[in-house]
Symmetry: C2
Subunit: 356 residues, 2 copies
């Protein structure tokens, strides 16, 4: 039976990427060696790293002078790295919007480094919407936001612009749509949604905005260290970078982020229209902030839960249980999830309606 | 042609580990899903993480109350993590021995956190030996050393003991021999030598020695965070942990660290005895500190270089060029390198002697 993999991350990857990755684990590019047992300084792997970095630039039309890095630690380490690299040592100030548990963690780490002004928060409403109408002050060192909230299923459909350097944790929607990279001082994202397997974190950096803090930064947390060493200061997460390269190749072959956006919108339209039309279901977030990546919804009547859970499991659907902190259901529809899989879920929702 | 993979790290892994890893990239344990696209919170992956942690304990006879973590960032991030977690916030003091470039980097990061007393250093002799006769003062927060120096080919053949908490970067010789884990407050090691692919870093920690610094530590750099969350505070490097688990299984099937030590010593005896007996070659380090993992040697006469390089390349030997900072040749003989591969290199060294 085909599995419809709705896992929230690590998540579905394209089958051809997985096949190529599997082959490379036993024999990389006909070298007779596994990609796992080659030196990261070998010309073969240096070419992989260079290509992965270049494909990120190509995919998002990143300005020439920006730098792309593949580091480790996920967005969780990125929270602290952001603050260390952009908040001034003396009187450092930053502005954040709190739209979910990842934003909350980012704020917590930034507070260890300097002053944090939380401009707006939807925490009081259990993060069921994206706050609007906040003004970014010009007197802060940077502004930070989280573009998509995996747990709650909200997303900035219109991305902000900022009078100060803007930093975005784009972990769960990078490469899902075109963005204007020049609006950002830095974008960072864990690989394990639209980019590749867990273990790599991509950073897209305007180097002109770095080095303004007057702060001594530990080598591994200093973005300039990694820029100077072309993302090879220490041993990189070789396999995660390689599979990210394969996924970027796949994405560009499909037509790039414009094509991803088109299909992602079709998938989102399909599920949200069912949520809205089917009287047994209701969305969990404000309609205007609905995420194209993660659709969260509830059964109107919990009595239908046993039947519904049985139906989707029998249909080969996996991973739609909502996050423990938000409950209900969550359909994560990252780039590699085919429209067919969304159709399979919508079918099950319709079958439920016909049964009760 | 069989490749004799002497890569210094990432390095050779057992063929059966690579085959199992390759299979799991397309279908993990018959689930129909790739190990790369499963949630790290799935029961399947939680079982992998738990097993990997348990196998580390089994392999090294780690005391029950110790904790094993699989984190990210390599030893390079471990340098800073060590200092942050063990050096007191007020009047923090530490003691280091400098035996190579990794020790030097560890010292550099520790100096950002507090006072570092370098007890001994072989830097003046280009790190060609392990300093002896140093005394570890009882008034420091911890003592740190690097057990094996990959670049220079030196190793503590007798491991030190310490009156203060002892921390060791064991990246390049962990699992190569039995050790007495209870001597250490913490051992850390990048996976990419004897454990698995790049991207994971193992920490073996006595939790009783943690939490004594009075320091506010960022969440991702705080070992207690990861202990509290059973190594799943954030998305772990899933594939690297999985392949590490497979490698640990392989190692235990072979007879564990005692068996590794026996074969590693045979490999070392074979190459070093040729280096000593063959008048065309000479070792680069003090004989008593020779590493069982990385044998470094020079041609006595550089005129033979072209012929020797041609011979070993034609024999399928790969990765024996020395590190740029130390020159000459380096034969890295990690656990998965078969004795046959060392025999192949020794054969080439003998052929060179017969030719010139």
């Amino acid at each position: 039976m085909k599995i419809h993999n709705y896992s929230a991350g690590p998540c579905i990857l394209p089958p051809e990427v997985l096949r190529k990755a599997s082959d490379a684990v036993v024999n990389f590019n006909g070298t007779g060696l596994s990609i796992l047992e080659m030196s990261h300084r070998s010309k073969e792997f240096v070419a992989v790293m260079d290509r992965a970095r270049a494909l990120v630039k190509e995919a998002l039309q990143v300005p020439d002078h920006y730098e792309v890095l593949f580091l480790q630690g996920g967005a969780s380490l990125g929270f602290y790295i952001s603050a260390l690299n952009y908040m001034k040592a003396e009187g450092g100030k930053s502005a954040y919007v709190n739209t979910g548990s990842w934003s909350s963690k980012a704020i917590k780490e930034a507070k260890r480094v300097g002053t944090v002004d939380v401009l707006a928060s939807s925490e009081g409403e259990n993060f069921n919407h994206i706050p609007k109408g906040f003004e970014i002050p010009s007197g802060v060192d940077y502004f930070h936001f989280t573009s998509n909230n995996t747990i709650y299923g909200t997303q900035y459909r219109d991305l902000p612009t900022s009078p100060v350097p803007m930093i975005c944790d784009m972990s769960s929607d990078i490469f899902s749509r075109p963005i204007n990279v020049s609006d950002y001082a830095m974008i960072y994202a864990g690989a394990q949604k639209n980019l590749g397997p867990a273990g790599a974190t991509v950073y897209i950096i305007d180097p002109e905005k770095l080095g303004k803090t007057g702060r001594d930064i530990p080598a591994m947390l200093n973005l300039q260290t990694h820029i100077d060493k072309e993302s090879m200061f220490n041993t990189p997460p070789v396999f995660s970078v390689f599979v990210s390269m394969l996924t970027l190749e796949w994405m560009l072959e499909q037509g790039g982020v414009e094509a991803m956006q088109r299909v992602n919108q079709q998938k989102a339209d399909l599920i949200y229209s069912e949520i809205d039309q089917n009287p047994l279901f209701e969305g969990k977030t404000s309609v205007e902030d609905r995420s194209v990546m993660n659709a969260t919804f509830d059964l109107v009547n919990e009595e239908h839960k046993a039947v519904f859970d049985d139906l989707w499991q029998k249909a080969g659907i996996s991973g739609i249980k909502g996050h423990r902190s938000f409950g209900g259901y969550r359909a994560s529809m990252y780039n590699a999830l085919p429209l067919d899989s969304v159709a399979a879920l919508v079918d099950v929702m319709r079958v439920l309606k016909s049964k009760v």
